[in-house]
Amino acid sequence: MSFVGNSGSFAVKLLLAGIVLAAGLFSCAPQRPYRAPVPPKRSVPPTPAPLPPPSPAELGRRPLPQDPRIREQDIRSKAPATAPATKETREPLKQPSVRESRTPVEPAPQPALAPPLPDDSSLLAKITPGVSPQRAASLRLTEEGKRLLDGGEPAKALTPLERSIAIDSTNPYGHFYLAKAQHRLGRYQDSLNFLDVAESRLGGELFWLAEVHALRGENFRALGQLQRAEVSYDYALRLNSGNRTAAEALARMQSDAQPASR
């Protein structure tokens, strides 16, 4: 019995030593870099087909005809819209790696787009003599909220921004920055809701419509709905090819997808 016992113990020790040795050798072996699992069908084609800028009539349709984002049943259930059942939409949000965040991203090939629009982001510039006192006060409060947002205080920014839409509910910029604050606070669905309102109040302000679509893309991306994000970024660029948020995000998405295609 004892012999058996001793030899059993020796065998176990030998087995363990073998496992440790194998593990050591494995760890020293050159490794292939880690790649995130890639869906069989990419969400972003490496070279998107050039898209023409939207026609004025197309702008009037809101949201995009190809945007399947909101459907009646989604509204009724108050749930975020469900994405088309493709594998890519189920992919969780991919955090940019350290390498990605440090190296400049190679600009993605751009479709033939309209020239960049002049910067129309100054809200104070919109306070002209003809502007109503409500709108003027509302714009100043929006500006204050924007300043707090830029200072990294989205929670604080909510108060002046909510006041801005209370004074003037037709102020689309107040709604836009509320959407931005909600996005920063990680409330992506609320952000999308505010963007819907902002868009409905913007009319033909292409610069701002592009901002709305770009932020919408950011929300979709954060929600892991990459196809919708791509559509939104793309539309933002068609409205204003100078929209940096959309351009950078698209480029990032394309660079994320690049290794998988090899």
Binding site: A137, N193, F194
Partner: protein, 758 residues
């Protein structure tokens, strides 16, 4: 004989021993018990600090219409007091009508996320418009100014003790010395009980043959306030003295003094007791402790003896006399110099009227308390001094209260049948006002008399809405079109004649008011005139399930059975639900969640939660605007046209509602900036025999006239048309009509056809 004496002596000795021993045992037991009480009080939670509920703050901006009287009243309610010269300290204001100026030195206020130190501001007015706001200290122009929220009420169990606890180091030494000078000169020289003080008090009282002085030390007073009653008996004095000795043995003089300064009662504002020196400084002088002058410190110290009798609010003369006595004591004790004394006695007491905090929005407070109780326990709400910021506009609340009370009185005066049916069944009403853009509930009156009935009819009473449900039918028609293929527009002709709707083996036949039928009518006319038969036909064509789903989508949460009578408002809903649903229209199709509680802060000014504005575009803006234009017609020439005769002339949309059996009268109406719902009826379901336009509309009109008096008159603005899009375009996919599809209704409703003959 000798033996008998010995026996008596022995028995007496035994009795004495027994008595002494039991006395010692009982005494020790009592001392132990009192020690435990003292320790528990000092080391545990000393004070129950009620939560405070605040109204919304008041925002002024350049260009706002402002009724001066309203602003001055607001300042008065916030505890500001009028002075003749330029304000020199916090809490003062000056109104100079000739110059069109209002100078205010703002109070300090701890807003959520921000502590604001008071500063002087100057507001320039031209007639009723604010033309300039500037920081009077720096001369810098400001574009908006926030006046702090008003305290609405406290949440407390039995008594409302208003108190902010401060450290001894935060109390100015001069105030501490003044308190000690008048209450316990030998505080640092005794051990809780002061025999010398007692003898001196007895001597003073004997000499004057009246009660002039008490011999209690400050520690004894604290023990009395902490643990005992106010009765002047030996049975209370003994434990007080023993507890004072225990406290002095266990705790330092500074700890005792700090507790005393926070505990002491110093006045009354209505139901609100003012406790502690910090709260008293705010109450009497609107100042932080650090800013108190010598005279003000002396006045506070002097108040301890009889806070109400010596209050400057009650008698400036008595308060001044007492203050001067304290100042004399301070001079005598070398606490202040002669120069300081002379300056202090010359200080004039501010002439201020006492603004009592009376809960002017009890129904609103009940509503938000229910909301808060889902998150915080009752103990937390009543003891931990939370600060709760709400959407309440107290000015609108007062207007709503007044409109409701006077409106009901008028109805009872003109309709004898409405006068009290029984003790339990008197005419009741409810009103709720909210801001459609944000969902903020600005005012809520849940009944006629809160003292008699706390039943809040705004969110607890489910009643049939009657015709105010019809807009959901018409909106569904514009949105989806009919199953027959009809694409409804405001000018679509509908048959308003009797018909029978067969469903699930049953039949339903709507009948018009007075059994009057109009034959061919336009869609617009059918809505404006609230024609039941025409509405029934539209609902049948659209599909009652679609109507039901749309009502839910817009904010009705009560179950709605998909039966034909739903189209005429047979399913019971609350006024709150109606308000939310119609605010979706007022806000161009964006539904907001009703918001009463905005932020909650704890005692250390940490924000515990913030309830944000939440929006959701649930109806295409073009459709919502089309409905607004149609519902404007209800006020301009429909069933609510009497609103114009009642003097409400602003652009507004609305709908009357009367139930079939005349038990409920409703009116929901809104401008782009404010929406109000009024319900009138009996709790016991007795008949009103009045329509919505007769019973509810006059109350609504009175409220809205007052509430919008200072607002700029704005009209409904539809969504801006994108370039290239022509008005009224209705795409092929427009049958969907909801958000995400194309609008099928015109963005703006064309004016009434002049030749419309119906």
């Amino acid at each position: 004989m000798k033996r008998a004496k010995l026996r008596v002596f022995s028995i007496s000795l035994i009795v004495l021993l027994v008595v002494t021993t039991s006395g010692l045992v009982f005494g020790a037991w009592f001392i132990k018990k009192w020690e435990q009480q003292v320790t528990e009080k000092f080391d545990g939670q000393k004070w129950r600090i009620p939560s405070r509920i605040y109204s919304d703050s008041y925002l002024l901006y350049v260009g706002i219409n402002l009724k001066r009287e309203d602003l001055l009243e607001k300042l008065r309610r916030l505890g500001y007091y009028s002075v003749q010269t330029t304000p020199k300290s916090k809490g003062e204001y000056r109104f100079a009508p000739a110059e069109g100026l209002i100078d205010i030195w703002l109070h300090d206020f701890d807003y959520p996320n921000e502590k604001v130190k008071g500063y002087p501001v100057r507001i320039s007015l031209e007639s009723a418009v604010v033309t300039r706001i500037e920081n009077a200290a720096t001369g810098k122009e400001m574009f908006s100014l926030e006046l702090e929220p008003e305290l609405v009420t406290g949440l407390y169990e039995r008594i409302w003790q208003e108190r902010r606890v401060v450290k001894l180091a935060e109390v100015p030494p001069l105030l501490v010395k003044a308190v000690l000078a008048v209450e316990d000169e030998r505080f640092y020289n005794h051990h809780g009980v002061d025999p010398i003080g007692i003898l001196r008090a007895m001597w003073v009282n004997l000499r004057s043959l009246s009660f002039q002085q008490g011999g209690s030390t400050l520690t004894q007073q604290l023990m009395k306030n902490f643990l005992l009653t106010d009765e002047r008996t030996l049975a209370r004095k003994i434990p007080e003295a023993v507890m004072a000795l225990i406290a002095e043995r266990k705790y330092s003089k500074d700890v005792i003094l700090e507790n005393y300064l926070n505990e002491i009662y110093l006045g009354q504002r209505g139901s609100q007791g003012i406790f502690g020196v910090w709260e008293a400084s705010q109450f009497y002088f609107s100042k932080p402790l650090a800013d108190l002058t010598v005279g003000e410190s002396a006045l506070l110290a002097g108040l301890i003896r009889a806070p109400n009798r010596l209050s400057p609010y009650r008698s400036a003369e008595a308060a001044t006399k007492r203050r001067d006595t304290v100042l004399a004591k301070m001079l005598e004790g070398n606490i202040i110099s002669r120069k300081q004394y002379d300056a202090a006695v010359r200080e004039k007491l501010p002439q201020r009227s006492l603004v009592k905090v009376t809960n002017e929005a009890p129904f609103y407070v009940d509503y938000l308390r229910r909301e808060l109780e889902q998150v915080y326990s009752n103990d937390v709400l009543t003891e931990e001094g939370l600060r709760i910021f709400t959407s309440l506009d107290l000015q609108l609340q007062r207007m709503a209260e007044r409109a409701l009370t006077e409106g009901l009185k008028k109805l009872e005066a003109t309709h004898a049948a409405l006068r009290k049916k029984s003790a339990a069944d008197s005419l009741e009403a409810a009103i709720i006002a909210l801001r459609p853009q944000t969902g903020e509930i600005k005012a809520m009156v849940g009944g006629r008399n809160y003292q008699k009935s706390q039943f809040n009819r705004v969110f607890q009473a489910k009643r049939q809405p009657g015709s105010i449900f019809k807009p959901f039918v018409y909106l569904a028609a514009l949105m989806y079109g009919g199953q027959s293929g009809i694409q409804y527009t405001p000018d679509t002709v509908i048959d308003d004649s009797q018909f029978i709707w067969s469903y699930e083996g049953q039949e339903w036949q709507p009948s018009n008011y007075n059994n009057e039928y109009f034959g061919a009518v336009t869609f617009r006319r059918a809505l404006e005139s609230s024609l039941n038969s025409a509405t029934g036909r539209v609902a049948q064509d659209v599909g009652i399930r679609r109507v039901r789903d749309l009502a839910h989508r817009m904010g009705i949460q009560s179950p709605l059975p998909a039966v034909p009578s739903l189209s005429l408002g047979s399913a019971e809903v609350t006024p709150l639900e109606v308000a939310v649903a119609f605010s979706t229209l007022a806000n161009n199709g964006v539904r907001t969640r009703p918001l009463a509680v905005k932020q909650v802060m704890d005692q250390s000014a940490k924000v515990l939660e913030k309830r944000d504005v939440r929006v959701e575009q649930v109806v295409a803006p073009q459709l919502a605007n089309a409905m607004n234009q149609l519902l404007k017609g209800v006020l301009d020439h429909g069933t609510a046209a009497s609103a114009r005769r009642l003097g409400f002339t602003r652009p507004a949309a609305g709908k009357t509602g009367t139930t079939n059996d005349y038990k409920d009268a409703w009116f929901v109406g809104y401008t782009p900036d404010l929406l109000a719902v009024v319900w009138v009826g009996f709790d016991g379901q007795s008949k009103l025999n009045l329509s919505g336009s007769e019973a509810a509309l006059p109350i609504w009109a009175e409220f809205m006239k007052a509430a919008t008096a200072n607002m700029a008159a704005t009209d409904f603005v539809g969504p801006p048309m994108p370039p290239g899009e022509s008005e009224g375009k209705c795409g092929p996919a427009g049958r969907e009509g909801e958000v995400g599809g194309e609008p099928c209704a015109p963005a703006t409703v064309p004016a009434r056809a002049p030749a419309e003959t119906l």
